[in-house]
């Protein structure tokens, strides 16, 4: 299953997911409290350092994940430059990069299953109130299983379109994709009912 977890082994991979998430929360709050350019530059350097510990390949992968941020960095510098407060703009831009990079670091070094476990653990107090949390785990499994299946069917439909029309596939292909999704939902629901449905735990 394709997740954003990096295959490059880092010392962070061994840390517990819950601990990393807690540290991320604290660090992000700290980032948003800082407002001097010196503090922000220091924080950014520290984040860069964290990425360089496992090596250049890992750091470059991390840089790749930051691609969507550059547009907003440019936007911030532009707007704050126009209003004459480029220093504030730089602080905000650095904070943005650092916060996103830190969050990405947790994602890159935590396995999907471990993160799901943390979520289920976090929801466990609800079990005492009588709320059933098991269906959520099953829902996650279902979505994860169905995305590649649906993608394959979507690609088949797009190919079928291309075989019949010289034009590029347009929005009309979304209807059969949706129909396929609805029909699959019906089949899975039937399979669930055949196995006893939801009242089995």
């Amino acid at each position: 299953m394709l997740t954003l977890t990096s295959e490059i082994r880092t010392p962070y991979h061994r840390m517990r997911a819950g601990a990393k998430l807690a540290a991320l929360c604290a660090a992000t709050v700290a980032l948003f409290v800082m407002d001097s350019i010196a503090a922000m530059a220091l924080a950014s350097a520290a984040v860069a350092g964290l990425y360089l510990v496992p090596g250049m390949r890992f750091a470059r992968a991390g840089l790749g994940l930051l691609k969507p941020v550059w547009f907003f960095v440019a936007l911030v510098l532009l707007w704050h430059g126009l209003t004459g407060d480029l220093q504030l703009g730089t602080v905000i831009a650095l904070r943005l990069i650092a916060a996103v990079a830190l969050a990405n670091l947790v994602t890159m070094t935590s396995r999907f299953d471990d993160l799901v476990e943390v979520v289920m653990w976090g929801l466990s107090p609800l079990k005492r109130l009588g709320v059933r949390t098991a269906p959520l785990g099953f829902a996650i499994v279902l979505v994860v299983r169905f995305i590649p299946v649906m993608l394959d069917k979507a690609r088949l439909l797009i190919d079928a379109w291309r075989a019949r029309s010289p034009r590029r596939p347009g929005w009309q292909v979304a209807l059969p994709i949706t129909l396929v999704a609805v029909d699959d939902a019906e089949h899975v629901a039937e399979a669930l009912r055949a196995r006893g449905g939801f009242d089995m735990d």
Binding site: V69, V76, V100, A139, I140, V143, A174, A181, A185, E186
Partner: protein, 181 residues
């Protein structure tokens, strides 16, 4: 009950798939992805509560590290970035879209869906989206709104398509359109 559950799960998957199929580019050069349409569809087809649940499930998986946002984005980083307002707005938009859809049960599907998709999927979505940008980037509301304005024509097209899709789905599989159940 099982069908509602599987429909929620599969619409969550649908939002992902609509983000992964190729984007279109408007004449102005702004890329539009079909993902926003997926959010609207959750509302118009599944209704308020289940539509919002599907979107929340989708967002949960993005947070867990799956690259399901348009462009293969995902992970916790997107929640730390300037578009977090839009991410928070997604389930709210689906809820309002569904709520309007359910209230307009007496009207034919297409007009109800397009009104629901425009109000829920655009107006209600952009409010937290722009506020998020204001908070994260320390821009004024005007600056943030101007930055997002080029995307609105694409979103209007998406709302129309979502409405057309919902109407077609209602003809083909009426029992699956839970908002009309």
């Amino acid at each position: 009950m099982e069908r509602q559950f599987t429909l929620i799960a599969l619409f969550a998957a649908l939002i992902a798939v609509l983000g992964l199929v190729p984007k279109f580019t408007l004449a102005s050069g702004i890329p539009i992805t079909a993902q926003g349409m997926g959010i609207m569809l959750c509302g118009t087809v599944l209704g308020a509560r289940r539509g919002a649940l599907a979107v929340l499930l989708f967002l949960g998986l993005v947070a867990l590290g799956l690259p399901l946002l348009a462009g293969g984005r995902g992970g916790l980083g997107v929640f730390a970035g300037p578009t977090v307002g839009f991410l928070i707005g997604f389930p709210i938009a689906a809820f309002v879209t569904g709520w309007i859809m359910e209230r307009m049960r007496g009207a034919p599907v297409f007009p109800a869906a397009i009104i629901a998709a425009v109000i829920g999927g655009i107006l209600v979505l952009y409010i937290p989206g722009i506020l998020g940008m204001v908070a994260m980037l320390e821009l004024s509301v005007t600056q943030a709104t101007l930055s997002m304005a080029p995307f609105i024509p694409g979103d209007l097209i998406k709302a129309g398509l979502a409405a057309a899709l919902t109407a077609a789905l209602y003809k083909a599989r009426p029992s699956s359109v839970l908002s009309r159940a």
